[in-house]
């Protein structure tokens, strides 16, 4: 059926542009993948090629700690202590806690802003949205000092603290959705004797699966890639998240070049979990990005 759609000239042009955009989108990713298989000495000589001359797995061995420091340096790497497995586990915990708790908290708040007319709700909502506009450089130092005062440095709680309670974007996004939920379903529940909490848990939440997934997915991606805060809080090797661990592939010396091969291999490895997520929940996540539900 879809294939028989008539190919008008406009459609052809649209297809052409779409394919071009796909190529532009995917090409750099292929480049990343290619570079991850290039041995150190050939990085710059093959930088304008589409395929490596002598593909190697040494970059991957390096990031999984299968090469000794000396071997790694000899292979053009940084020799930094990378244990991508530990940091991957840390990243999963870090991201997991934030995504679950933050999404839940934000859903609660967003629901209240959408549905419960309470004193100061407009003002507070405005403030929540405005929080998106505070440049993070402003909050960095005070937040860090706060974590120190609370004794949360080098702890998972300290790492998730600024993120897991609330996020302006998530509240804003979910409120837009809750507003569009049919109001009479909630009123029916109200007549059925459900209080606001029960309406939220038994009615609003189950009906909001799609936007919740959207927020959760976006948060997952952002937190999976979050660098600065975990970097500052988790100085201990055993606490490092993936982006923090990856950082050691970047500039080791003031003028030094990144360890491109290691960096690209690590990028591939770091992206795999998110890609798996995309494929596992595939249709659901991609299609969960929704603005109105219920209808």
């Amino acid at each position: 059926m879809i294939l028989i759609k008539k190919m008008t000239p406009a459609r052809c042009v649209a297809w052409l542009v779409l394919i071009t955009m796909l190529v532009v989108t995917l090409f750099p990713l292929l480049f990343v993948a290619k570079t991850s298989f290039v041995p150190a000495g050939e990085l710059y000589t093959t930088s304008t090629q589409l395929l490596p001359d002598n593909p190697t797995l040494s970059n991957y061995k390096k990031i999984f700690g299968l090469l000794s420091t000396e071997e790694s340096i000899a292979a053009g790497g940084s020799g930094a202590n990378i244990n991508i497995t530990t940091s991957m586990i840390n990243s999963v915990i870090f991201t997991g806690i934030i995504v679950i708790v933050q999404t839940f908290n934000c859903a609660l708040a967003a629901y209240a802003f959408a549905r419960i007319p309470f004193y100061g709700s407009k003002l507070l909502f405005g403030a929540f949205v405005a929080s998106m506009m505070i440049p993070s450089v402003v909050t960095l130092i005070p937040n860090f000092v706060l974590m120190r005062d609370l004794g949360l440095l080098n702890s998972m709680l300290g790492m998730v603290a600024p993120f897991f309670l609330m996020h302006g974007f998530a509240v804003f996004f979910l409120r837009q959705f809750f507003i569009s939920l049919p109001k009479d379903i909630e009123e029916a529940a109200q007549l059925d004797g459900a209080n606001s909490f029960m309406i939220f848990f038994k009615i609003a939440l189950p009906l909001s699966w799609a936007p919740l997934m959207t927020v959760a997915t976006l948060t997952t991606i952002n937190m999976w890639n979050e660098f600065l805060w975990p970097f500052l809080i988790a100085t201990d090797d055993s606490m490092k998240t993936l982006p923090v661990a990856l950082q050691s592939f970047k500039s080791q010396t003031p003028q030094g070049q990144p360890d491109w091969g290691g960096l690209m291999a690590a990028t591939v490895v770091a992206t795999i979990p998110t890609i798996i997520m995309l494929f596992f929940f595939g249709r659901r996540i991609v299609e969960s990005v929704q603005f109105t539900g219920g209808k």
């Binding site: 000495g41 340096i73 053009g76 940084s78 974590m147 003028q255 070049q257």
Partner: protein, 434 residues
């Protein structure tokens, strides 16, 4: 019941912890190439001082300083850290560094064991803020395959001369090494400066207030001086010697002997050299290992050319280890710094051949160690014995750096004449350094 047990348990943990682990000193550095050497030092140190353990963390250059600043503010900075001349004045100003002079006096340390000048730059008004760990100089790395093809001998390369007017023998060599797409070199009339395949020489960049690998060596050999004295407030960036140097460097790109500044700022000159797009580039001694691992062609380190002054000149820079004034274990930290600055540790560093340790004679040992790996780094030693100068030291270094970076960029991009841009910039610099 429950509370009691809890208290007891934590008490037990506390007791056993203090018994087993004693004091842990946190130490940070940014160069991962050096990590194995210092890890070795830490192991040796703990063997000698069983009550002190050292925990080393490495993070990249940019993140290193961010983390350190945040650490100072929040009181979580490491006890000991690798310090840089460009950064330490600000720390001194804000009392973040421990004055080591009383420890040095008490333990009767002899500063003269360090290569001349290295110890002094870390002191001010009788106080001492760091113990030297290594030094670095600048040399030039040459692609010898290209040199041979162009008929340039190693001897010629080792004894280059330079001046800002005609470029001396340096420019002649660069011309021979510069090839266009058709294989003509820049001495030929058929040379096409718009289609260059290999650049004879590549200037790394603008270089900010130091010009460490970029222009300071040319300028210094042309009579340039950064400032009146370390910590001095008088700067001479508007001097003609620098303007002429920068005009000369800009001119190289105009003739097609170097790539345009704007084309070299992403991956940089090092990558161009490795990729065979540049035949000669200047670089510092800390990059010896990097190039050896990455350059696949035949290469050689040669000393910088002699300038109009008749001498070679190089920036002589040194790192030191400093103790943070907020450290809870200053005595133990001092023990570690002392060890880092001792022959015991520095000979370990020398044997790894990654950098040149600060103690006299150790550099030769490092060169020897590199020789064993078939790396000839003697050019850097040669340079250290030439005319050397220290990097400028000033408060507000970051702002001066930013100002100079912009000014020199505009010269290299051909947006402003060198003399004009430098005069303007120097006025600002003088304001900041007051």
């Amino acid at each position: 019941m429950k509370i009691q047990r809890l208290t007891f348990t934590s008490l037990a943990i506390a007791v056993s912890a203090s018994a087993a682990h004693a004091v842990e000193i946190k130490y940070v550095l940014w160069d991962s190439n050096q990590l194995p050497a210092y890890q070795q030092c830490a192991t040796d140190f703990s063997a000698k001082h069983p009550n002190i353990s050292v925990k080393i963390t490495q993070s990249g250059w940019d993140d290193y300083w961010t983390a350190l600043s945040t650490g100072f503010v929040s009181g979580t900075a490491p006890d000991v850290f690798t310090d840089h001349l460009a950064k330490y004045p600000e720390f001194v100003k804000n009392n973040q560094l421990v004055d080591l002079s009383s420890y040095i006096e008490r333990d009767k340390l002899d500063p003269s064991i360090y290569t001349d000048g290295l110890y002094e730059v870390w002191g001010k008004d009788g106080k001492q803020f760091g113990l030297p760990k290594d030094w670095d100089t600048i040399a030039m790395i040459v692609n010898m395959d290209m040199a041979e093809k162009a008929g340039v001998t190693l001897d010629e390369l080792n004894f280059m001369t330079w001046n800002p007017q005609d470029g001396g023998s340096f420019e002649q060599i660069v011309r021979k090494l510069t090839l266009d797409k058709n294989g003509n070199n820049a001495t030929s009339d058929k040379f096409d400066p718009n289609n260059v395949a290999v650049y004879g020489y590549q200037n790394p960049g603008a270089g900010g207030m130091l010009g460490q690998t970029e222009w300071s060596h040319f300028a210094a050999s042309n009579g340039f001086k950064f400032q009146d004295k370390p910590w001095g407030s008088q700067f001479y960036y508007d001097d003609k010697s620098l303007a002429d140097t920068l005009d000369y460097i800009t001119g190289l790109a105009k003739q097609g002997l170097s790539a345009d500044f704007k084309n070299t700022q992403s991956l940089g000159s090092d990558s161009m050299f490795i990729a065979g797009k540049a035949a000669i580039i200047p670089q510092g001694s800390w990059m010896i290992t990097y190039f050896d691992n990455n350059v696949k062609s035949k290469y050689h380190w040669v000393p910088l050319p002699k300038g109009p002054s008749g001498k070679r000149a190089t920036m002589f820079n040194g790192l030191a280890d400093s103790i943070w004034s907020g450290s809870q274990h200053k005595e133990e930290a001092w023990q570690w710094v002392k060890y880092l600055g001792s022959a015991d540790c520095q000979s370990v560093v020398a044997s790894k051949g990654v950098v040149f340790p600060a103690i006299k004679g150790m550099a030769e040992k490092a060169v020897g160690a590199q020789m064993q790996r078939n790396i000839d780094s003697s050019a850097f030693l040669t340079m250290s014995q030439s005319e050397t100068y220290l990097p400028p030291i000033a408060k507000n270094g970051a702002r001066i750096d930013s100002t100079m970076e912009s000014a020199i960029q505009s010269i290299l991009l051909g947006k402003e004449s060198a003399q004009e841009a430098l005069s303007d910039a120097n006025k600002k610099v003088l304001r900041y350094s007051k």
